[in-house]
Amino acid sequence: MSNGWGHPDNQAMNAPKPALPPVLQLEDVGRQRAGRPAVRDLSLRLEAGQVLGLLGVNGAGKSTTLAMIAGALRPDKGAIRLQGQDFLEHPELARLALGWLPEGAPLWPELTVREHLDAHGQLRGLRGADLNRLRDAVLERLELKDLARRLAGVLSQGQRQRLGLACALLHRPALLVLDEPANALDPIQVVALRGLLRELAAGGTAVILSTHQLAEVTAVCDRVAILHEGTLRYDAPLHADEHAALEKTFFDIAMAGRTQAA
């Protein structure tokens, strides 16, 4: 195993891309859900090659934030810029610039692994030889080649997660949005995922990932943001040796919120 899902002959997938900073910019983004504010005045900026970990307790607004960034949900207020362009005005920017793995990796159970990748590629305007090349590369990279003919409906949760990740990576987006990407992965696959994310970041891909696992964030992220009750409470660079400090910050924010609520 090199680094799990990475293969030397696939390194071309990570060819450096021209820097177009910032890849993502959120300005005062807000969104109500079920009559209460799920995200409030959120402003974020993500440069090419950065890996941002989005932390928060359940209901903090992480998934809502990621759904808005992915274009699956429209904010009630604020602006989202993707590679400098207004994403809300031009949602079609998502087609090539953005890859999204939603929580639970939803799939079409009637389609095989290969058909999933083909469908995702075609939805993003890929055709013919380009699509075949990218599909084969991502199948190999995520070690899904042996499962290519298997129906998604019979995959294990870990395999589903890998397929969801493959679909998000297929078109080599500039921004990768991952909601709980390590869910249901075994420890070896978690290490492989970390290696993959580091490689992608080194190749210039901006990554934003939401997780409950502080260890996941300290292992791969170079920046961390903490959401609490829909509000950004913390946003700072992160170094590998700061796990304990991050843990303290996270619990301070989460517990302070609970004390106020009580």
């Binding site: 699956a72 999204w100 995702h120 075609q122 939805l123």
Partner: protein, 261 residues
């Protein structure tokens, strides 16, 4: 074009699900039975009909009547359109409702597709499936084309009418699927709307009223004209309007999904 990517995806989903094949096979078996009965009646009356000046022939009494029971007036099994009232909702129920319940609808939005493209792409897939179904149903009476004299003009008009009726039912089914959070709810809703559209003028007809808004609103009024071989632009416009209204409502609902979450 990404619209066709949605169509391809939906066609794939339609063709790998057993329900589509079961619906198609059962419907064709039933239509084959109807065809055999119609043919038997035609053969029994053939000599008498031949003596009539401009009497109805194989096209009127068998080929067109395989497509619809509207003008049969006898207790025979359903024609294609009546079967479609029951079966198209089952075919279309999963187009969007199952995407919503499986959580895959946001994936389509996140591919940069507008609500209109998603819905039209899926509707196109349903139309292709229905056209294939119609072609197979037409093959039943056409199998005797070499030994019978067909009135091609009348058959083309009836085929056009049947296709338009299927297209209306397909649009209603896809729109109901866009509104529903569960496929079964979408199927029931589409069945009720389809039945209402077919039976809305029943009271007026029983009272002997054959014109007015209520009759214009009913699909039968426009379908029957085409089945009798008369192609009127007013009837075609009605079908296109019905399709447009259903699809626009579906698109609005789908767009609201992205807005409301």
């Amino acid at each position: 074009m990404t619209l066709f990517a949605v169509t391809r995806l939906e066609l794939r989903r339609l063709f790998v699900r057993p329900l589509g094949w079961i619906i198609g096979a059962l419907a064709l078996a039933e239509l084959g039975w109807r065809f055999a009965l119609l043919l038997q009646i035609f053969l029994l009356n053939q000599v008498r009909l031949a003596a009539l000046p401009d009497g109805p022939g194989y096209t009127d009494l068998v080929a067109v009547r395989v497509l619809s029971s509207f003008i049969t007036g006898s207790p025979l099994p359903f024609g294609l359109i009546e079967l479609a009232l029951l079966l198209v909702p089952l075919l279309t129920m999963s187009t969007l409702a199952s995407e919503r319940s499986a959580g895959t609808l946001p994936l389509l939005f996140a591919s940069g597709l507008s609500a209109a493209r998603i819905l039209l792409g899926k509707y196109l897939a349903v139309l292709i499936w229905l056209a294939l179904w119609l072609a197979l149903a037409l093959a039943i009476p056409m199998s005797l084309a070499h030994g019978a004299t067909l009135d091609w003009g009348k058959l083309v008009a009836a085929t056009l009418g049947t296709f338009l009726a299927l297209a209306v039912l397909g649009a209603i089914g896809v729109a109901c699927s866009a509104f529903a959070s569960h496929p079964a709810v979408a199927a029931v809703a589409a069945l009720m709307v389809g039945l209402a559209l077919t039976c809305i003028n029943l009271g007026a007809q029983l009272a002997g009223v054959s014109n007015g808004f209520i009759n214009w609103l009913a699909m039968n009024t426009h379908e029957e004209t085409l089945l009798r071989g008369l192609v009127s632009s007013a009837d075609i416009v009605w079908f296109l309007l019905a399709i447009a209204v259903a699809l626009l409502l579906g698109i609005q609902r789908l767009a609201a999904d992205r807005e409301r979450g």
